[in-house]
């Protein structure tokens, strides 16, 4: 499984990349591989300020529905338009073109509570 070393992770298989006070959030390669063909993504939280671990959207594979959770608290600034048009971009490029949302981080201290790549690898190899 691809777990890039420049990202932080959650136990729920989201990744987060921080640039200044804006973070980009997506789901991991492990998550997309477990879900299989991703066919529908619904994110209707743009403009909302959500707490850490609050649901920001839903991702549907052919057979399953899963919620996606905020790795940290923040305001949802933007949804990747590509993922609603072509949800399978998440299968193909989960860390690149398949990103989900951009968030204005409310409390940067929460970033320290996230998993490092090594810690995340540990959770998926259990």
């Amino acid at each position: 499984m691809n777990v890039p070393s420049n990202l932080k992770y959650t136990k729920d298989h989201e990744w987060i990349k921080v640039e200044g006070d804006v973070a980009t959030i997506g789901v991991t390669d492990f998550a997309q591989s477990q879900l299989g063909d991703i066919v529908f993504i619904e994110i209707e939280t743009v403009g909302e300020t959500l707490a850490k671990e609050e649901v920001f959207g839903t991702i549907e594979a052919v057979k399953t529905v899963s919620d996606m959770f905020m790795p940290v608290a923040g305001e949802v600034l933007e949804v990747n338009p590509k993922i609603t048009e072509q949800p399978d971009v998440v299968n193909k490029d989960p860390y690149g073109d398949g990103w989900m949302i951009k968030v204005k981080v409310s409390n940067p201290a929460e970033l320290n509570e996230l998993l490092t790549p090594e810690q995340y690898k540990g959770t998926i190899n259990e």
Binding site: D37, V39, F40, V62, K63, V65, E126
Partner: protein
């Protein structure tokens, strides 16, 4: 952690191939089965457009033999077994004596006193107990007139528009011209005898091939070699479900169960109230047919964007609850949400607008006839 599970699961004769090919495996009905290989959408499209192979060895098989076999089957199944001739197959169900369904099944007539039943993997024990219990009334002895052969067969479903053409390469008997829902015992791929049956549950055409477990390796290899030039691929249970749903076929445990009558489920066409056929629950189901039922299994497609799932509620335009979804998915062919569910009387006509409760929204859908991926 996964390996602990594997040890309690049964393998089919083909399980080793699924693992070798890198399929995502999971337990289904006690068997270690492939859920997907290349991806459900790709596998689904392969079957609709070319040819795909499913391991369906987990399905159960029961023989019914002897002079009372026909009477017995006329009593325990809803379809008219007397309409079968040698080499024909019939879709049917077992009524449960309380107006529900024990299981749906296929009935094969080998000859007037020999029948072969194919039942759902998840229901093998339940069906076998039911068959034994009902068989007692006919003086049947398990192992004699009724025989559970479920562990003795390996079975592949080869499905798709190119399936019969590909399989024709493996036998000198004519199979490309076989009628739908017929079978013959033939020599195939160097195996002395298989049951070759033009059945399947995908709506894509093709066949199902039954062989003895010891011939399974030969069958698997020959089928893939013969199919190579047609683009044959192995297909998992995930696509099996989306394929059957697109064409509106019922899945036991979802669309039909011990609480649904065949009439409610739209299975009136396999429920025959002919003279002399006094099957279990006939009176009740005849009443359902003549007087109508309060609910009925209907198919629908989403108009708004969204995917229906089992147990989502169905509403009318005023927001009143009128039913529940029993199966739903995104159609891999039309890329539209499709589903089936029990819907209250008054909302059964084609094009009737209904609403599916998906999370916190009620999304518009409409009643359509299958195949749902071609509905407009």
């Amino acid at each position: 952690m996964f390996n602990l599970y594997y040890s309690t699961m049964k393998n089919t004769a083909f399980t080793k191939y699924h693992i070798e090919l890198g399929a995502r495996m999971a337990e289904f009905a006690g068997y270690n089965m492939p859920i997907e290989y290349s991806g459900i959408n790709d596998e689904h499209i392969t079957v609709r457009e070319k040819v795909g192979v499913f391991d369906v060895s987990h399905m159960g098989e029961v023989w019914v033999k002897g002079p009372k076999a026909l009477d017995f089957l006329q009593t325990i199944t809803s379809n008219d077994v007397s309409a079968l001739t040698d080499g024909k197959v019939q879709y049917s169900c077992f009524p449960n004596g309380k107006g529900g369904i024990v299981d749906d099944l296929l009935v094969y007539r080998v000859n007037a006193e020999t029948y072969f039943l194919v039942i759902n993997a998840a229901n093998i024990d339940k069906d076998w107990n039911w068959i034994c219990e009902q068989g007692k009334k006919f003086g049947f002895t398990p192992g004699k007139e009724i025989y559970n052969a479920s562990d003795e067969f390996a079975q592949l479903a080869v499905q798709g528009p190119l399936a019969l053409k590909a399989m024709q390469k493996l036998t000198s008997e004519n199979v490309v011209d076989m009628e739908y829902y017929t079978f013959k015992k033939i020599s195939f791929a160097g195996i002395k005898e298989v049951i070759f049956s033009t059945t399947g549950y995908t709506g894509a055409g093709g066949c199902e091939i039954y062989c003895a477990n010891e011939d399974a390796d030969k069958l698997w290899k020959a089928v893939f070699e013969a199919g190579a030039e047609f683009g044959i691929k192995p297909i998992g249970l995930g696509a099996r479900d989306t394929l059957r749903l697109e064409v509106g076929f019922c899945l036991y445990g979802h669309d039909i169960n011990d609480e649904t009558s065949a009439i409610e489920a739209g299975l009136g066409w396999i429920t025959k109230f002919v003279d002399g056929k006094n099957f279990i629950d006939r009176a009740l189901w005849e009443k359902h047919k003549n007087e109508g039922t309060e609910r009925r299994l209907k198919g629908f497609i989403m108009i708004d964007r969204g995917i229906p799932r089992q147990h989502y509620l169905i509403y009318d335009a005023q927001g009143n609850e009128i039913g529940e979804v029993t199966s739903g998915t995104m159609s891999p062919m039309s890329k539209q949400g499709i589903g089936m569910g029990y819907v209250k009387k008054g909302f059964w006509k084609d094009d009737t607008e209904i609403y599916i409760g998906i999370r916190d929204k009620k999304l518009k859908a409409k009643i359509v006839k299958p195949p749902f991926h071609l509905a407009k």
